[in-house]
Amino acid sequence: MSLLTVEGVTLQYGNGNKPVVAAHRVSFSVARSDRYIILGPSGCGKSTILKAVGGYVQPIEGTILLNGNAIRSPGPDRIFVFQEFDQLLPWKTVKENIVFALTASRKVQRREAEERAAIYIEKVNLSEFAASYPHTLSGGMKQRVAIARAMAMQPDILLMDEPFAALDALTRSKMQDELLQLCEESKFTVLFVTHSIPEAIHIGTRILLLSAHPGRVKAELNSRDADAARIQEILFDGEMTS
């Protein structure tokens, strides 16, 4: 049985007389331990779909089920990693950020939270910086903390919204490898949004291709038998030649 089922979901933003349809009747399902990539050009509603899974946006049509239960609001069973560097709480140290996430969501008691925080900080190689405040860290380090924080929560599914997009190319490819390794180790289920075809192929196990304005499903592939040229062709069929 699949962990996450998205069935005929239509999303729009901006209310009033001119709502914009971000995604139109999108369906897909994510199995446990999948690294499921939503790939598409800007304007295909991929971030909005992720926010809907997160519970921040309500679909106007269709259903989103996690473990068979409808998603109504944000919750600690689905942890977000954002692209923005300011997702860490600036008034807490690296370690406290993780401990706070664990205790505020009542996942574990403080003592266990501290142990778990130390483990995950170690996993992302930031033990030296456990007592540092976020503003003293580089962008890549901040994203590592955000990933460690999300993983320490051990959610049913990790929701990643282009977490590496704001990093320089070298750091990005290093972080991609690290993420892959962490996922291999602990069999996390990840729903990952990106507009980068190489990133999708590198990180994902399955890839969902969306078209833009509004977002519609074009195809779903196994990343094993996907190559950049083919994805390019599916995403932009015809448009490129005109």
Binding site: D86, W91, A104, Y133
Partner: protein
Amino acid sequence: MRKLALLAVLAAVWEAYARWLANPLLFPTFSATIAALGGAIASGQLPRAVSYTLTLLLKGYVAGLVLAALLTAFASVNRIGADLLEILTSMFNPLPSIALLPIALIWFGLGENSIIFVLIHAVLWAVALNTYAGFRAVSPILRMVGQNYGLSTPGYIARILIPAAFPSILTGLKVGWAFAWRTLIAAELIFGVSSGSGGLGWYIFEQKNQLLIPNVFAGLLTVILLGLFVDNVIFKTIEKVTVRRWGMQS
């Protein structure tokens, strides 16, 4: 260090000018002022006045903060509250609190309550406005992160919104304090005349009536020193252990 040297130079200039003027009724020397300050402290008169003033200040400040919190909470939950806050602050911010003293005297009579009323007015608008602006400026990402943990509404406010808005809240507290301090001394100067209560403003006024001008200067110096202490020690320390450490200074 440079500033200390400059202060010493200023004190020397003061001393020299006062000696040259040789009119202690108009302008006492620095040394006479310091001596008067020492005497007033030793006699217990000045410490009593200071503690009276600070107690009053604290009462008004805390009451102002509580009201500011309520008003901000109201403004945060609905639009009418937000509009109300905006209208009230733009109306009352330009109004010097001390201008309300006459009416406060009619409403609350001669007593602490009138002064507390004007102090609340001095604190309330600055703090409410800054806190509200701070809440509104909390980044949507931080809000989403906070919601992600499934916090209750009070938990979300206390553990996400307030710390995230803290730089702005602190600015409000500082501005509120500055208004309150000036207002209080002024109010005591006017008000002490009729009630004979023993604040610092009243001390200055009373010493002037007895033509103890060095004591008047000692009182003024105390006002300055207390103001500097709160700004440079209390607020600086709060800043150092919070916003500066967090890299959130605006």
